[in-house]
Symmetry: C2
Subunit: 411 residues, 2 copies
């Protein structure tokens, strides 16, 4: 049995990935920016709001005029004017006066607070009673309170959610600088592997891996392209990886779960000029026969041929790496909602391997969750499909007992 | 003050949304299917694998030949052949014989188990010693074990993850029937609102809402288009909503946080022939002045003009509704990872309103989380931007005390 050259711990693998440079920047329109990560600070070049605005429907007043007002002793004010939306009022409110103002309306000069309409009563055609006092700035969003000219609106590294997009829109920012999204070249290899639209002859299997990997890349918000399936031939493997490197930021090639094929892939990759093998094996199960290499700033993932192993490795390392390249933190995957569950059966695990166990979740009568390991032989795709998520058994554990509270990552 | 016509509880609002029909189906290629939801069952029309395959590198054997084998008393077998990848072996293994087989290789006739290479030693040029026994089917993935012809591979309603895509690829499924994705018409209204690429005159504000809503729709995996900003004019509002209804599956129009404008929008929407107002006000804060209407099977969301309120309503109701329309469950939002946190300060809330409080999260020394409410006046976009998530205070609570364990939805 050929020994792995350099089996490393999962955390080391993550560290190696974090050693790659992030991708370059690009300018995109604000509408294309959701879920992208800023590659530079965005500065405010004006105040928001540009003048003081009311946050309620009511009356703009001198706060002082309302001090002591109550239901029994209301303050009387003359309604001198009405603020219209979309205009900056050109009049002034003097002591003893009020101006009707809608939510969002800009305060007229002189006014320093707004009384909600609920705390006023009409008193004749042109006056109101105010039944509650307001202090200065009550119900007023002051000039520059949301953002002040010159300050950093959003810092580099910030992922843009819909609220950030709205904030930038309000500030008149129509384009932003974000990290480029990685493009991934996906390659399947193996003499037995055929395209999915063909009927396998005896002994052949369809190419599940590249389509599953393309789906994973797409779910990570990135683009991929598929190269032709490569037979088990060192020169052709080398050529395919070179083609991938020339066109993409990341190459993900799967195949070679058997020992011989694994070595073939390692040989082919390391024969490419400028390629450095960073890891040859990672201490996880499934997924141990994983290769990581680099050429300049481009990563090459050599994934196992087993679809289940390939997908687990891709979830644990590749998907987070794609986030990292476009500005995110490098954190071990899988990403996904985490729920706490009680383990329905014991799990055995091997010391020295971090194990990713597929589980089904069932809701309990009390509204909690029970996790049932999905057992199945290595290479069974249906185990992944039946699973609602994954339980991670750490390297130093021999397994988990039945009844243990575990975290299930819904991935 | 104008009363709301029909303020309903959030759960009722969700129920109303769940009363809409889902969208129609469409056929998409497998590579376009990730994160889509099946609109019909997918049946297997062949067995997977189509023959029995080895799950390890080793030797295909008659299990019976290995019974009792150990390091001290190994079983001796003649290596009669080698299984090549990509072909169905055309030979047979007789008792006393073995065939070298790679991981994934198809078993030759006669063989019913595989011995891992680790438990064999070479014994001369053409024989091996087997040092551990195997039982029938050990290290073998049997014909049809992953999927059996005729069975339901994946049921209607299943959301396709990368593993399902891989599974379908392996089965030769190249196209799937999924629910169509909704197209959303986004409209902003208000005399004071101008496009984001213009410099506001005094009293004007830029259109934050439609860009934030478009971002939210995009984050939900759907498409939207923006109509022109509509001034506060009943006829023009009506016309814009009609245009939206003609072109899109859902119309989201924001504007009218002031009482007068709110009524203007309700009047405009209800004046459209065939439109039924389902809700005029929902008991949440922020976001109470929300309108829900339907025309045939199309929903019209009348959202508040305040960007913060509009976004909260969109997260709580619109985004989940977009998932529902394309086959998901109708569940109240916001969607997002949930973390447990300790509340840093007390929160006041009003009985009868479900309150969505924006909070910042800070990690504690112990690896837990503290949630700090982001206070700020209504209409401050920066409160949404500063927030890492939302804490929901239920309708029947007057608030939460400092130190309470709360769930924060990272949205």
């Amino acid at each position: 049995m050929t020994e792995f050259l350099r089996v490393i711990a999962p955390d080391q693998f993550v560290q190696l990935l974090g050693g790659f440079d992030r991708l370059s920047s690009e300018r995109v329109s604000l509408d294309a920016s959701p879920d992208r990560i800023l590659s530079e600070d965005i500065l405010a070049n004006e105040d928001l709001p540009e003048g003081s605005r009311s946050t309620v429907d009511g009356f703009a007043v001198h706060a002082e005029d309302t001090f002591g007002a109550s239901d029994s002793i209301p303050a009387f004010l003359e309604v001198a004017a009405t603020v219209a939306m979309g205009t900056m009022p050109d009049f002034e409110i003097h002591p003893g006066q009020a101006a009707q103002i809608p939510t969002g309306g800009f305060l007229p000069r002189g006014a320093d607070a707004v009384v909600m309409v609920e705390y006023t009563n009409a008193a004749g055609s042109n006056s109101i009673e105010v039944t509650r006092p307001v202090t200065v700035k009550t119900n007023v969003l002051e000039k520059g309170e949301d953002a002040r000219s010159g300050e950093i609106l959003l810092p580099v590294g910030k992922r843009l959610r819909s609220q950030e997009v709205g904030f930038l829109a309000a500030m008149g920012v129509t384009e932003v600088c974000v990290y480029r999204k990685p493009l991934v070249a996906v390659i399947s290899s193996g003499d037995e592997v055929i395209p999915i639209d063909r009927k396998p002859s005896p002994g052949q299997i369809r190419d599940a891996n590249s389509h599953a990997l393309a789906a994973l890349v797409r779910a990570a918000g990135c683009e991929s392209f598929l190269l032709d399936i490569v037979p088990d031939n060192s020169d052709l493997l080398k050529e395919a990886v070179r083609t991938g490197l020339a066109q993409a930021d990341v190459v993900a090639i799967s195949g070679g779960s058997s020992v011989g094929m694994r070595d073939l892939m390692a040989d082919a990759v390391s024969a490419i000029p400028g390629v450095e093998i960073l890891a040859h094996g990672v201490a996880i199960r499934p997924g141990k026969p994983t290769l990581l290499a680099r050429r300049m700033q481009k990563a090459i993932f050599g994934l196992p041929g087993h679809p289940v192993s390939a997908l687990i490795v891709a979830q644990v390392f590749l998907a987070p790496f794609l986030q990292y390249l476009q500005g995110g933190k490098m954190e071990k995957g899988p990403a996904g909602h985490r729920v706490q569950a009680t383990l329905a059966t014991s799990l055995n695990s091997t010391i020295g391997l971090e194990e990713y166990v597929r589980v089904r979740l069932e809701e309990t009568a009390e509204g909690g969750w029970t996790a049932y390991p999905v057992f199945g032989k290595s290479g069974m795709l249906s185990t992944m499909v039946k699973a609602d998520g994954i339980v991670l058994v750490p390297m130093n554990a021999e397994g988990f007992s039945r009844g243990k509270a575990v975290h299930v990552i819904q991935s």
